[in-house]
Structure formats: structure tokens, C-alpha cells
């Protein structure tokens, strides 16, 4: 095949996919804000995304904070700048590592699960069955997951931030010999509300993207078990890439000089 033709075909395919995802997102969001609302399903998704993801997000941010303190110490000690470690830990965790790591972990845990569940429902005609039972699949399946993703990820990241800072505190105080009260004071002194807020805004955006990609790829899956497997992979990969891209865009919005 002519290479230019292959590139053109891939580009048109990319545009078509982007268009389909945009239409899917617009339809889904419109169903999120219009009644009826399935409160029971929203609650179930919130528990699944929020409560059951807490251990994995907590562990991730705990060790991220611990490693960050340790690495910063080995680097900063060369310049006698150990005193900057509390602020480096808290700013890195709240602005970047908390939301990004939590987003990536949720993409793996929840995005994959959503794609697999909806994909299986699609290939076993359960989504078709919903329509024949006068139930809009966007309202019943997609909207609760989107709402839960957008609301739960900021909460998870907020808790993750605290755990991550605590991880840095533990390593700094009990391993590196920092004074506990001085460490905490430095942490608070350099932390501004915008640092936390920007992380929570990122978390809400990542929650939306993870849920959207999981739902889109699951809802659109075709072709039996293989199709469901491909949908699951695509959901995690696309959500992860979008998280990294969106992270840069939001960082630009908040902190570009």
C-alpha cells in the first residue's frame, strides 16, 4: 500500500474516532444533568470508585511521598538544601503526583473494569435489552459512572495527598532525622490553597476521562471476548495518555507565568 495512503487512512480514522468520542461525551454529559437520576446506581459506583479504590491510591501516594523525601534528600544534601524537602514533598504531591498517580491507578482499576463490564453487556445484548425495556443506556449505565468518577476522584486525591505528605514526613523524621514540628511548619508555610485546588481540579478532570474512556470503549465494543479484551486495553491506554496530556494543559492553565 502507498505509505501516504496508509498515513491518510490512519489520520481519517483518528478524526473519526475523535468525532465519535466527542459525540459520546456530549450525549453522556447531557444525560448527567437531566432527570431521571438513578441514585442507587450512582451510590454503588461511588462506593466502587471511591471506597474500594482507597487502599490502592493510599499505598501509591504513601510510597510516592516516602520515595520523594528520600530522593530529594540525596539530591539536595549536595547543595545543603535539605530544608526544602518538606515544601518539595507537599508541592509535588498536591500539584502533580497525587492526582496523576491516583488517576493512573484508577484508570487501571476502574477504567478497565468499566470497559470489561459494559463490553460484556454489549456483546451479550444486555444493552440492547435495556433499550427494549424503555431504559436509556446512557442514563442507566453511563451517567452514574461519569458522575461517580468526577466526584470521587477529587476526594480520593485529597485523602491521597494527606497520606503522601505523611509518607514524606515519616521518612524525613524517622529515617533522615528531621525535627517533626519544623517539618510540619515548613510543609504548611509553603503550601497555598491553589496548590491543593489545582490538584483537585485535575482529579475531577481525570475522573471524567477515566470514566468516559471506560464507558466509551466498553459501550462500543464488538466481536465477543476478543472485542471486550481490546476494549479493556484501549480504555486503560487512552485514559492514561489523556491523563498525561490533560495534566500538562491544566498545569499550564494554573501555573504558566
Amino acid at each position: 500500500m502507498n505509505p501516504l495512503r496508509a498515513i491518510g487512512k490512519a489520520f481519517i480514522g483518528f478524526l473519526a474516532s475523535t468525532g465519535r468520542i466527542t459525540v459520546f461525551a456530549a450525549t453522556s454529559v447531557s444525560h448527567c444533568v437531566r432527570p431521571p437520576f438513578y441514585y442507587r446506581l450512582i451510590g454503588r459506583q461511588m462506593i466502587d470508585i471511591g471506597y474500594y479504590s482507597l487502599p490502592v491510591v493510599g499505598l501509591t501516594t504513601l510510597f510516592a511521598g516516602m520515595v520523594l523525601a528520600l530522593q530529594s534528600y540525596t539530591g539536595f544534601a549536595r547543595f545543603s538544601a535539605e530544608g526544602a524537602i518538606p515544601s518539595v514533598v507537599v508541592l509535588s504531591i498536591t500539584r502533580e503526583l497525587g492526582p496523576v498517580l491516583a488517576g493512573l491507578m484508577i484508570a487501571g482499576r476502574i477504567g478497565a473494569s468499566m470497559a470489561a463490564e459494559l463490553g460484556t453487556m454489549r456483546v451479550t445484548e444486555q444493552i440492547d435489552a435495556l433499550e427494549t425495556l424503555s431504559t436509556n443506556p446512557y442514563k442507566y449505565l453511563i451517567a452514574p459512572r461519569l458522575i461517580a468518577g468526577i466526584t470521587m476522584l477529587p476526594l480520593l486525591v485529597f485523602v491521597g495527598d494527606i497520606i503522601g505528605v505523611f509518607g514524606g514526613y515519616v521518612v524525613s523524621v524517622y529515617k533522615l532525622g528531621f525535627n517533626a514540628s519544623a517539618y510540619l511548619q515548613n510543609t504548611w508555610t509553603f503550601l497555598e490553597p491553589l496548590d491543593v485546588v489545582s490538584g483537585l481540579v485535575k482529579a475531577a478532570a481525570f475522573g471524567f476521562l477515566v470514566s468516559l474512556m471506560g464507558c466509551y470503549h466498553g459501550y462500543s465494543s464488538r466481536g465477543g471476548a476478543q472485542g471486550v479484551g481490546a476494549a479493556t486495553t484501549n480504555a486503560v491506554v487512552s485514559a492514561s495518555i489523556l491523563i498525561l496530556v490533560t495534566n500538562y494543559i491544566i498545569t499550564e492553565m494554573f501555573f504558566a507565568q
Partner: protein, 258 residues
């Protein structure tokens, strides 16, 4: 009986990429008739059914339910039409996350906003109609055999006392005895509800049991429609070959074409 057909498809065309599946398909189903569409695998039977239900939009042609072109309906109106239909899917399509009774009562709770307690009672009644006891009501669909899943699917299809019931390959994957049992249940339930039935199958024994009209779909067209009792004297070579399951005939010749 009303003169307005319950279902009418006129000149319905549907293609997927280069493959033409329906090519001017016509079908008329009168109220309280039970019509079966027969045809080979991949002939477009499921597509024709999904065009009526609204799961697939035809490229051309019209689909009317009670004389109303469903393409002109708003989402709300379409949902209202769907609330008057029931569907038994090929593999029952039960919701894995819900117990059996909630599967049966799903349309009542979500579509008709019936209180859960009342919907539970209706579900138990419908399950008993298809020969299943209250002990099954609390089971998960994963715990059911193929025959039981079909019965639950049938109970769900008739739960809302629908005007029209669709059956997609109702006996596929079942042993002959269970297939016969399901057919008898279908006939009994359709009669009790007083519904119009449209089924698709390639199981001729099943088609003869559950229908009073048969239509044959071939190459995207309805090539024959008539009383089930007269199908053996259809005079159509394609129908004769299909109902006799003969390897020789016009259909074989078409299949052998390069």
C-alpha cells in the same frame, strides 16, 4: 380485530459497509398474529427484527407500529412504544448484576416506575407462569441453566403485558425437549397476554409450533409469506428447500457461486 397492521415494514434496506443485508424487505403482521421469519444464517433475520425494535436504523424504507412510522418518533415517544413491547433475546440477555426477580421486574421498576414490592409480586407471578418457583427468584442469572435462562427471559418479555412480543431464535442452544417446552410456553404466554408475536428462527419444528404465519427472508427480501399450515404447499423452490433442509436446490446453487 383492527385493520391496521400491528407491524408493517415497507421497502426496508440496510447495508453494513459493502454487504447488503436487507434489500427492500416488506412484512406485514396483523394484530394477535404470530409470524415467524425464517431464513438461513446471516440472511438478515436479526437485523430485520432490530429494525422494528429500533436498535438499528434502516438506510431506507419505513417501519410502522400501529400505523405510526417509528422513525418520526421522539426519544420519549419511542420509549413509550418500547414500553408496550417485550423481547426474548437469543441468549436471554439477562442482567448479570441483578437477581432473577429483578431481571423480570426491570421494565416495571425502571420503565413503568412500579414500587419494588409490587414489582416483586408481579415477577413471582410471571416466573410461575413460565414454570419457575420462588426459589429461583433470588438466584443470580449465572446460576441458571440455558433452559431456565430462556424461561426467565420469557417471563421478563411478558412482565409488562406487552402488545407485541419479539422472539429472537427462542430455541437455539436448547435440547429438543427443552425447545419444545419453550415453544409451548411461548404459545401459552402470547395467548394469555393477547399479544402479537414476531419471531425469527431457522428451526422449522419450532416455527411450525409457535406461528400461524411464516415469512421467508432470502437475499434481503421477503420471498414468501403465508399461513404456516400451507407452507408445505408454498410452490416456492427456496422455501421448499429450506423447510426440507435439502442440500440441493436454488439456495445451494447460490452458495456455490464464486
Amino acid at each position: 380485530m383492527s385493520d391496521t397492521p400491528k407491524i408493517r415494514m415497507r421497502g426496508v434496506k440496510k447495508r453494513f459497509g459493502p454487504k447488503v443485508v436487507l434489500d427492500g424487505f416488506d412484512l406485514t403482521v396483523m394484530p394477535q398474529e404470530s409470524v415467524v421469519i425464517i431464513g438461513g444464517s446471516g440472511s438478515g433475520k436479526s437485523v430485520s427484527l432490530k429494525c422494528v425494535i429500533g436498535l438499528i436504523t434502516p438506510d431506507e424504507g419505513t417501519v410502522e407500529i400501529d400505523g405510526v412510522d417509528v422513525a418520526t418518533l421522539s426519544t420519549g415517544e419511542r420509549e413509550e412504544v418500547n414500553s408496550r413491547i417485550g423481547m426474548l433475546f437469543q441468549n436471554a440477555a439477562l442482567f448479570d448484576s441483578l437477581p432473577v426477580w429483578e431481571n423480570v421486574a426491570f421494565g416495571l421498576i425502571q420503565g413503568k416506575k412500579m414500587p419494588r414490592k409490587k414489582a416483586y409480586d408481579v415477577a413471582i407471578e410471571k416466573l410461575s407462569q413460565v414454570g419457575l418457583g420462588t426459589d429461583v427468584a433470588v438466584l443470580s442469572p449465572a446460576e441458571l441453566s440455558g433452559g431456565m435462562r430462556k424461561r426467565v427471559g420469557l417471563a421478563r418479555a411478558i412482565a409488562g403485558d406487552p402488545d407485541i412480543i419479539f422472539f429472537d431464535e427462542p430455541t437455539t442452544g436448547l435440547d429438543p425437549i427443552m425447545g419444545h417446552v419453550i415453544d409451548n410456553l411461548i404459545v401459552q404466554c402470547v395467548r394469555e397476554v393477547g399479544a402479537t408475536a414476531l419471531s425469527i428462527t431457522h428451526d422449522m419444528a419450532s416455527a411450525r409450533r409457535i406461528s400461524n404465519q411464516v415469512a421467508m427472508l432470502y437475499k434481503g427480501k421477503n420471498i414468501w409469506q403465508g399461513d404456516t399450515a400451507t407452507i408445505d404447499e408454498s410452490g416456492n423452490d427456496y422455501v421448499d428447500q429450506f423447510i426440507n433442509g435439502s442440500a440441493e436446490g436454488p439456495i445451494e446453487m447460490e452458495l456455490l457461486k464464486p
